[in-house]
């Protein structure tokens, strides 16, 4: 069932390091008629620098954009702003927007936004978490990834990665950045802002709306194998952030998996930046897609069918400071009786 059909309004989060091009991308989105049914929340209205001829005032805090988007500032806390937005929509004071985009200026970690939606008893009945869209600057991105853990975390939790300013740098630097991004986040599609064929609507398209055959993931839906990154002396980097990919070629028990993952996230949730995968469950014909960010695991998606002939379960974990090999061993011990993870286990160090 699509998000739209479910009646929940998806909240997409636009994040990225300072100067990485979030606002430029947001302005481009807002100018697109395809996003007319979008409400936008930004931290401070002034930061977006919208031209006056693009907007008209609705009241002191909200504006209606020419494209039809509703724009609102986050004055107090996020939950209050979202409730007010929804209330106005229901009362007919605002156009019936179908999605929300939040620009996360000043929020290095997307997790608080996602957890706000899930934790609030009112919000969780009207909204659901959409995509996390992260912009990465070709000019400064590699240096920021080397220097700031926040930048790594923003990339790790992304559902869509947007490389910006690619036209300002040599292709080799862009290639290096992409390789780093792929290592940090093996599954998220990497898009280029300067690409004239960039389909903006793909930024907010949710996975459950995507047919298995028409996957957005370069791997053919979920869980591309991470790249093994090896230093010049042949020894893998001792990384703070790493990814591990598990492939299990027999059915997984949902209860055992749930017990194990809840136990892992309870103790190490802040260091499990992302878990994403597709599971072949005991007693279930169709695959189930799971997707979590830190402590928050989204409601599993029961997919219509398998994306290919491959029926193995595939899971990708992006870890901050956790031992991927130990995590694999723990997964085997807790969820697989007698039979080990046979197909593959690759651990890629990112920093």
């Amino acid at each position: 069932m699509s998000v739209e059909a479910s009646g929940f309004l998806p909240i997409n989060l636009l994040t990225g390091f300072l100067g990485s091009g979030k606002t430029t991308l947001l302005k481009r989105i807002l100018a697109d008629p395809a996003f007319a049914d979008t409400a936008v929340l930004i931290n401070e209205f002034g930061e977006i620098g919208l031209d006056h001829d693009l907007v008209e005032s609705v009241d002191g805090e909200m504006v209606l954009l020419r494209s039809g988007c509703v724009c609102c500032t986050v004055r107090d806390d996020l939950a209050t702003a979202l409730k007010e937005l929804y209330s106005r929509r229901e009362r007919g004071l605002l156009p019936p927007f179908r999605r929300v985009i939040i620009e996360s200026t000043g929020l290095a970690d997307p997790f608080p936004v996602l957890s706000t939606i899930k934790a609030d008893p009112v919000l969780r009945h009207h909204f659901c978490a959409g995509n996390v869209i992260t912009t990465v600057d070709t000019v400064n991105g590699l240096r920021q990834l080397d220097t700031y853990i926040e930048s790594n975390r923003q990339v790790a939790v992304a559902d869509r990665l947007i490389v910006t300013k690619a036209d300002l740098e040599a292709d080799s630097k862009g290639d290096s950045l992409r390789a780093r991004l792929r290592t940090l986040n093996p599954d998220a599609p990497i898009l280029t802002a300067a690409d004239p064929n960039l389909d903006l609507s793909s930024l907010v398209a949710v996975q459950s709306d995507v047919s298995p055959s028409g996957s957005l993931s370069q791997s053919g839906f979920y869980c591309e194998e991470p790249v093994r990154l090896v230093s010049s002396d042949g020894v893998p980097h001792q990384a703070a952030i790493s990814s591990i990919s598990l492939s299990i070629d027999r059915p997984v028990d949902w209860t055992a998996f749930g017990l194990w993952l809840t136990m892992l996230l309870n103790r190490h949730g802040e260091r499990v930046l992302r878990v994403k995968g597709i599971l072949n469950l005991n007693g279930e014909e169709r695959p189930v897609a799971v997707h979590g960010v830190q402590h928050l695991v989204h409601t599993p998606v029961h997919m219509d069918g398998w994306p290919s002939e491959d029926r193995s379960s595939r899971l990708v974990f992006i870890l901050d400071g956790l031992d991927g090999a130990l995590l694999k061993r723990s997964f085997e011990a807790f969820t697989l009786a007698h039979m080990p993870v046979v197909a593959s286990c690759q651990i890629a160090a990112a920093r």
């Binding site: 949902w254 017990l259 809840t262 136990m263 469950l281 005991n282 723990s330």
Partner: protein
């Protein structure tokens, strides 16, 4: 709204969302639902025994987590299991603890 605790809306946890019979169904297939809950309790107890804890079903609606000395907590779903377990035993329940992993590996042997 729950008439006992007054919480608006039922508590929903992602572990509830499996398509197996008895997981989603609330108004029919009661045997399947009970069988599913019993399987959850069995699987949980396999992990909890290492901490001296026991989980039991409470009227098909909640679970009771108890220590060997009788201290107990009621939990709604698996999302509350591990924080409650840590409170009751006074130490971390870490699936990456080597000794614990080795013990779980040992249950598969023989």
């Amino acid at each position: 709204m729950c008439s006992l605790c007054g919480v608006l809306g039922g508590n929903e946890h992602w572990t509830d969302a499996a398509a197996r019979p008895g997981v989603f169904t609330r108004n029919h297939a009661s045997f399947d639902r009970r069988r599913e809950r019993a399987e959850r309790v069995r699987a949980a107890n396999e992990m909890l025994s290492g901490f001296g804890l026991v989980l039991s079903d409470w009227q098909g609606a909640s679970f009771v987590l108890s220590t060997r000395t009788g201290r107990s907590e009621i939990i709604e779903d698996l999302g509350h299991l591990w924080p409650a377990a840590e409170r009751l035993v006074g130490r971390y329940c870490d699936p990456l603890d080597l000794a614990f992993v080795a013990r779980m590996e040992g249950r598969h042997v023989g």
